[in-house]
């Protein structure tokens, strides 16, 4: 820990490397291939689900649905994010995503804002959406 009154603090290292990287931005994977090994990833790479993906049940749970899937389907009778479903049901994100994948494959849930859509929207933010968020927060 650094004492507050210490003389000039050392700045964040790697400045030159970052500048060089900025000059070539767009040529390479912006992540620099430094992602975590696959087993450590929070949500598997090829799923349709992001933490913020909204999930919405499109049918009542059929009688033959396994109990965990049925509970999940009940929990998203109204739209709710993957992250909230995980928190509400006390199930790890990984488990929730796996169960939702099965529900989605059987057509029991609708998704709003899949992982791919979220990534696209984040890299090209829509000013209208941003303005609506600003207005919404200001009203609180």
């Amino acid at each position: 820990m650094q004492h507050p009154d210490a003389p000039p603090r050392s700045a964040r290292p790697g400045r030159e490397e970052r500048t060089a990287r900025a000059a070539t931005a767009g040529d390479a994977d912006p992540r620099g291939g430094q992602g975590p090994p696959a087993p450590l990833r929070l949500v598997a790479a090829r799923t349709a689900f992001d933490l913020a993906t909204l999930v919405f049940a499109t049918s009542a749970a059929p009688a033959d649905l396994p109990p965990e899937q049925a509970a999940l389907l009940r929990a998203c009778a109204r739209p709710l994010s993957v992250a909230e479903l995980s928190a509400h049901l006390g199930l790890p994100l990984r488990t929730v995503v796996a169960l939702l994948g099965e529900l989605h494959a059987r057509g029991h849930v609708e998704l709003r804002g899949t992982r791919e859509e979220q990534c696209r929207a984040a890299s090209h933010p829509d000013p209208t959406i941003l303005k609506a968020l600003i207005d919404g927060l200001q009203r609180l």
Binding site: S81, P127, L133
Partner: protein, 200 residues
Amino acid sequence: MDYSVYELPSLSSPSPRPSPRDPLPDSAERSVKVLVVGGFGVGKTTLVGSASEIRPLRAAAGTGPRVAVDVGRVTCGGRLVLYLFGPPGQQHLWFLLDGVLDGAIGAVVLVDTRRLHDSFPAVDRLERGGVPFVVAANLFPDAPLCPAGDLRATLDLPGSVPVVTCDARRPGSSRGVLLTLLRHLHTTAPRRNTPPRRAM
């Protein structure tokens, strides 16, 4: 152990909070994701909780009470929802940040002015991932005031990155930080022209 629902010890304003199971309106169709990141114990959980309209939630990302992501939410009108996600600050849990980085429209880097170095990895990671961010200094009572210029120099921030102060315990202050981020994104949005970030 049940760590899926996490109560903050105390919030300065005891605002009534809806049930944690509060569903969104059926019209909700668009969610926007903002991250709250930073070093260990800088107030990330506190900020997510105070800014949120729902009771603080934690989504388990592994085994153990600390391996969880804070979840907060603000609905804006009937169709739009802002989600706040706060991954834990310890270095060995940083893979969680990698998992939440994709699809984030921006981030708040929360810093304790006594431990600015603790936020280096967060800033590095956001820069590498091309995620726009603002820096908010959480004003702990015993922390010295740190001139914004010093903070900027230490974190080696470009002039375009907004730097603000906040009290993460106060909803108004936390939401003010989010507003700073959203205004920053709004100002830069039409001019930004980056290749789409790859899904991992």
